[in-house]
Amino acid sequence: MKWAMVAIIVGATAVGDVLQSFDMKRHAVQTEQLRPSRWMSVLSGMARRAPIVVAVFMMAISFFAFMKLLSLADLSFAVPATAASVVLETVLARIVLKESVTWQRWAAAFCVACGVALLAM
């Protein structure tokens, strides 16, 4: 059950993050839009974009699975175990988002994955 929750969290987070990154790159929030008076228009703009709506839905799935996982396991297991998504997302960033993933970034993803595995032990 614990690992099933981890799998759901990793899969839903990866899809959600790729969709968010894909959409937010095309509609980046400008610095002046960070003023509180502009928040509602920024949020309503986001709510009308399909990739963001799907991404939020995936994050909600991830969130509820995370709640369930926290009831089954320690925080110091739950948070690191879900970081397996880092490697998966780096691969997706290269293939789907066409980001320039340099050797430093692959090394970073590898270090983070190793670190997370160690933290989960």
């Binding site: 993050d17 968010q20 990154s21 937010m24 790159k25 095309r26 509609h27 980046a28 929030v29 400008q30 610095t31 839009q33 960070l34 502009r38 228009s41 920024v42 949020l43 703009g45 986001m46 974009r49 939020v56 509820f64 995370f66 709640m67 369930k68 926290l70 009831s71 320690d74 925080l75 110091s76 739950a78 948070v79 690191p80 970081a83 880092v86 997302e89 780096t90 997706l92 960033a93 290269r94 988002l97 066409k98 980001e99 320039s100 993933v101 430093q104 970034r105 090394a107 970073a108 993803a109 270090c111 983070v112 190793c114 670190g115 997370v116 595995a117 160690l118 933290l119 989960a120 032990m121």
Partner: protein, 158 residues
Amino acid sequence: MTTSSPAAAPGVAASATGQQRAYGVDLRVKFLTIFVVLTNVFGNAAMSWGMKHQNVELGLSPLPYIRLIFSPWILFGTSLLIVWLLSRMTLLGWADLSYVLPVTSIGYVLNSILGKYIFGEQISWYRWLGTAAIVIGMIFVGFTTANTTAGRQLKERG
């Protein structure tokens, strides 16, 4: 919010002018990264505290989850995680996903530290080794440009 302006977001660094802009606004990317990390760490901690002190049996039915969300600590944690989600979306517009992921992974380290000092969880030597690996990963990413797709974005926006 959609923008038709070709103005570059913070972290943009693909063209010569983009490169110059990047160094001028990079501090904003860094501040937002710190904000994203802190809201995530404290949101997770509040959620964990709330979940550890609840007596509701969780199954496949969504009702117990919805009831739980309105308990004080989980409500606080959820609010912080909503702020985290929105600020992270903003950060993803300014920087690459493959940059944001390792840089914000310091949150895992902070979660472990909170787990030890607030929840009394055991932190073994290999967890500290894991912490060191994550920090090394962050250092690697620190040498890369935050946004490598900026040129394409500017072209797409016309």
